[in-house]
Symmetry: C2
Subunit: 310 residues, 2 copies
């Protein structure tokens, strides 16, 4: 079934100790869409500038992603510059040029209205809510956010949280939003704000989901938690987009399945980890662009062997 | 089969936000022995002072632990005082009184010489080596260490590492010992120092083992890594002894099995997580003292459901 994603399609300038890239294709919606495209149909709502080339669009099209919702606007595309030279786990933002993104007003093409799954990537909660309200009949709503919106735009974020079924969030941000260092209690408080499931991403330590069983369309589960591993890597070339790739693998797999059972949810978390692990192996979207479904299935097996006993 | 453990049997004075305890029974060998005793026979080598009471010894005896190797010496037992008020993840040491431990010279009773498994708990590497050399014919040697020995006594520690099959170590200390922030490369460097397997404990994020297949007596495994989860807890009452309880569950289970297969190793890591999760639920050894094997099996199932799909 189809996922509609709204978020940023942007250019990133990145430096890590493995090298650098100047204005390579990036943005949360891009990473999400590419990762999810290996599992299901994906439609993108975003805004880009005149610097967005046919070649850039081809990256989406080669993966069968519907780009009709990518609006062309006068000016430059959103441009983020970041460095991981100080800390591989947390980007140091050098420059944020919103450009055409500053006046982004998401418009949903008619042909997108039958999308069953909605993903609200990390953008201004005001825009997330606006999209959500135009799509009242989707089967499931999943969203992402970040510290910037938690600290500065909490009231707006809370309105979005009430509309979410699943929130994907970083470890640190979950503790910040939940107002406690204890992860389990933080997740419980975030659940009380709306989402039935909170998937907390721990980076190199995997991810933990906290959920109420009402999230499942069928099936039961004794505990209200899942844990999935991350793949230890001897080299992380560029962490940019790892979280959005996780989201794409996670949500893409869910959308590809007829029911949301506990088992589907769990496997989705593993596929999230799989897509995140590929993403960081090369700069930007390079690795995910060259992936095959066979690569993904192979790595899924590695994740299974890493964490399961006979 | 029997495990011989050498380490500290001590008294701990602990404060956490949940309360405090004055001179409660503690020490790495104590936590290890209690946890391992649910799986196999355990023999302890340690030194205590005249303040070690019959009641203290009964804690071991009730669990069937052999205490003939606990030497009584003139003076007070090792006494550690620590606080977790600042940081639940890292104890702030308020006082360390070595007392009789200062002149500890481990002596191995004749009846202990047929022990098949040796555990060198976190003590001076000089003493770890001395015990190892007196037990040349054990099937497997497992050890623990800490930052104090890595930074100040590295040459001695390196001699111990050459003698280990399995090293259990904290995340931070693994990176310190391996000399790199990348966990996988750190673990590889530590393996080059001796141990075929390095089990890195991530606290609330579980544990990851890096190993060469030569550690197994039978069976093969595609990846040279395992990951096991930790149980999210809404309250950690007292983290003291969690790592040693992990070690006891891990090594106790291994010693209880006829062969060290990949599957046994993996389950052992889960039992380690199980015993660690119980330990932190109450102060000191209180929770582990009241445990039953049925509690352990039940929680093992919870760990399995937390991490495995169908």
């Amino acid at each position: 079934m189809s996922i509609l994603v709204v978020g940023s399609v942007a250019f990133d300038t990145i430096e890590t100790k493995h090298g650098s890239r100047e204005k390579c294709l990036g943005g949360a919606a891009t990473y999400f869409a590419l990762a999810a495209s290996f599992f299901t149909d994906v439609r993108v709502i975003a805004v880009v500038g005149q610097d967005f080339t046919t070649e850039n669009e081809e990256v989406f099209k080669r993966r069968g992603i519907d780009t009709h919702g990518i609006e062309r606007s006068h000016g430059h595309s959103f441009h983020w510059s970041g460095s991981y030279l100080q800390d591989l786990n947390e980007a140091q933002t050098l420059k944020t040029e919103l450009n055409v993104f500053q006046h982004f007003n998401p418009k949903i093409p008619k042909a997108y209205m039958d999308s069953e799954y909605l993903f609200l990537a990390n953008i201004d909660p005001v825009l997330q809510l606006r999209v959500r309200q135009q799509m009242p009949n989707v089967k499931l709503v999943c969203g992402d956010t970040m510290n910037y919106w938690i600290t500065g735009h909490l009231a707006n974020l809370e309105e979005v949280l009430r509309e979410l079924d699943v929130l994907l969030i970083n470890d640190k941000e979950a503790r910040m939003l939940g107002g406690t260092d204890n992860l389990m209690r933080a997740a419980t408080r975030v659940q009380e704000m709306g989402p039935s499931a909170v998937v907390v991403k721990h980076g190199e330590y995997g991810a933990t989901a906290f959920f109420t069983r009402s999230i499942f369309t069928t099936g039961t589960h004794a505990t209200e938690m899942f844990h999935s591993p991350a793949l230890p890597l001897s080299d992380v070339v560029d962490p940019t987009g790892a979280g959005d790739s996780f989201a794409g693998g996670f949500y893409g797999y869910i959308a590809s399945q007829p029911e949301l059972t506990p088992d589907v949810f769990k496997r989705a978390m593993f596929y999230g980890g799989v897509m995140g692990s590929f993403c960081v192996e090369q700069f930007g979207t390079e690795r995910v662009q060259s992936l095959t479904r066979a690569d993904i299935d192979q790595r899924f097996k590695t994740f299974e062997e890493l964490s399961h006993f006979a």
